[in-house]
Amino acid sequence: MALNLKILPQSSFGLAGYWGLQESVTIPFYDYESNSSNYFGIKDWGISLQYGAEFSGSVNSSLYLLAIAKKLGNHSLSARFTPGYQKEFLFATGESIIINDTTTQSLEANYNYKELFGLGYSYRFNEQFNAGLAVRFFSQDFKQEIVKPVFGDTLYLVRETLDEKANMWNVDLGIDYIINKEFQLRAASINLFNFKDGFINEEFQGFEMNQNREALLMASYMPADFFNLHLLYETSNSFQVSTTGYAKGFTYGLTAFHDYYQEPYIAGVVPALGYRTDFFEVLLSGVKYFSERNSNASFSKFYEEGINNIINNRYSFDKVVLSLALKISSTPEKKVELINVDIVRDIYPTFYDKYIEQPFAYGKVLNISDKPVNIIPSVKIEGVTQDKIQSPSQMIAPGDTATVPFYLIIPDKYIIDKATLSYADFYVTTSSTEPDAQLQKAALINSINSWDGNVSNLRYFIMRDIDFSMNHAKSILSKKKSVIDTIPSAISVFIKSKILFNDFVKGLVYTSDPRATAEYVQFPKQTIELKGGDCDDLSVAYSSLLESVGIQTALVDYKEDSEIRHVNVLINTQLASSQAEFITNNDSKYFIRKNEQGKDEIWIPIETTSLTNFDEAWNVGVEKFNREGLEKLGIATGKVDIIDVY
């Protein structure tokens, strides 16, 4: 027999009918036949099985499919085992042998076509495009009894069984194009690549699976959850039309199929009814053929026409199929989307706790679920923070968009010499540790000497080197121990301030900031070691020395000219107003501020850029303070601001 049977592996027929792109309609059944792009809408793991019964006069139950899928970002992987995807034919070979001159024995054959397993991969390029491939493994097991002459001393006819297996790999590609929520298009190949074994035995040649290259074109129109319409066309001139839908957890599907190789024109229907939750789906479907099916069939028709599909052919029987699918996910369903993030403040590492009070960025978060969601924003900056820094949680109503602040803590040991462009990863988390949404933005990280020009932020420079300042101040004061021990305690603060200033200014020179970095502030140690600085640096250093030994200071911000700002230091002498004469008889050289208990205290301004001595610096400071702050009403108008270091 020289045959060329059209026994083709699967094309588009699925035992649950056609459901379109499965993410939008139902959870996956890994139906490679109509889903060559292989995309499925799970977040983590998915397991599904199809178990059913076939009615051929008797009832045969089969596990049709067992599949597992895993999603890794935009990559989707799946594997399926299909023990029930097989079709077996039993027939007499047409050859018979006469044994012992009288008895005729017919020889029989058993041909079994199987799809054993498949592997799938898909990549989601963006919201609109998925592409993927499916690799499937087929096996053809042929057993046939033959009569074989055996010649030794005499000639015998021996009845034996030929047994041969031929395997085949089949690779198909597919692509999905999601135009919008209502329209989807899909295209896939059928039998694009085949790699197969040939048959050794001549008896089986011509009975092997054939591979016609075809294509699948699919379109879905989905105006509402409860009504979707799908059309699937194969270039072999077969098609499927289906309607599917979902409402209140229930799913339905009805597929009618025209198979070019089967009669009548609409060869059958696949109705399906199911129920699903976020975690599982159960679907009961059936395959009803409109032509009569019989467990006995004509060999000549099989010989002439073959079959076109292993599980859907003119020899297939009506079926009932139960499909189960589980979503096993360590990643819960996404409830919110992070639409955008706006970084509102540059990052100055020295202001280590400033961003706890003042958010450095704001994000717009949309609740896409149908329930109120408590979100936790967090941020991590590459190279700056080791862990995510969480911001306070916030409740967002269903469908609402909220502006969410992102706070930050910079480690106090963090050092950076030059400004660097880094990346801030913003996260929004709901119920689990895995974020629902994240967004990355570029962020400029300034150097630790960078300053934003806000005098109130100079306190970070004052306090950062406080240990150095304390050691340095104590060293200076210890040299004047004999003086300090003999003075009245009331003027102790004043004398210590004077001793520290006079020692501090020895050898110091006024130097401007580096030209390229106008807002550059030295730490006290740098100023003392470099023996110079501008008004910011000198005020920071002197204030730090005083604060380190418990002398309260404030900074005076002279903002009279936007181009040239100035800073000097106010010292709390801790003298009461009645004690002013202990340090001066000139009541214009000090001014009174109330402390926290409401008592008056004498404060004196010191111009730290007057690198002569304490008295001179006091005089210069007083002169400037009186002129800018009082005579020009700077304090009243806000052009002169007094900022307590603590």
Binding site: T93, K148, S298, I311
Partner: protein, 301 residues
Amino acid sequence: MKKLLKYLIISAVAFILFSCDKPAPTQLIDDTTDEFEVELLNKDLENPYSSGTDTSGITQDLTGITNLISVSGIKITTKNRTNEFSLAQAMFFDKSKPIKYSDGRLLAYKTIIPGTIKFNGTEAHVVPYRIRYREGGTPKDTLIGGKYLLYNIANGVPDPFYFPYDASVSFEYVPFIGGNNISFNIVTPYEINGTVSLNGNRSNKNLEATLSWNGRGEKRVLVIVCLLKPGQMQSIPIYKMKTADDGEMRIPGRYLNQLPLDRFEKIVFTFIRSNEGFRGSGNNELLVSSQSIHSIVIDIP
């Protein structure tokens, strides 16, 4: 609840896995004509024997036959030359005189010559009827009596009996002692003309034979495959194959390539289209057979 769900799932999966059958198979009923039945005719190719196969196409087991009348139109094609013969014969067995093997098995019956017989008006000769058989590994032959015979090799020589195809041959029987004369017509089959395509060669063991003939689509034809040793005239029948009279049959290569072809020079394919029928009953039962036979002799490549 979670535990219960887990157990339920495990139980369901176990139930499904262990309760599975295979999907229902389909039994294909052979309604094609591309079928054949094969019978081995000779086990010992060095010392062939047969209980009834000869060029007349008589291949039946004679133990089951009471009486036999056979007419044949025979053609033998060797290379491009075809010789035609006609043959008529009759044999009547005496069921009370069985001939047995030494172990008691029935081999045949003695024949009798009960009267005169004419085919198409020509009286048949009575000739000795000898059969060959094997016993205990030793080939033997025995004379079982006489039989009636007419044959025409060419132009009515030696007998003026001409086998007509798709027509009839008249038969007349006149008993020697008492009884009624018997006469009837034997319907003859349509002439069979075969061709053989023998490809491959014996050394590569890839011989394949495709047989074609003028198929009539009715009944079946027999194909006898015989081998012929160098220098010998009598072929050794190997296989008897019965197939539909559809005009074509491919003999699977294994039937030829497993034979010890290096000992043989020629292979003979004999096509036989026959009509057979029984007349009478009991001891008067008569198998009437007419056949068109075409043997094609081919050098084994």
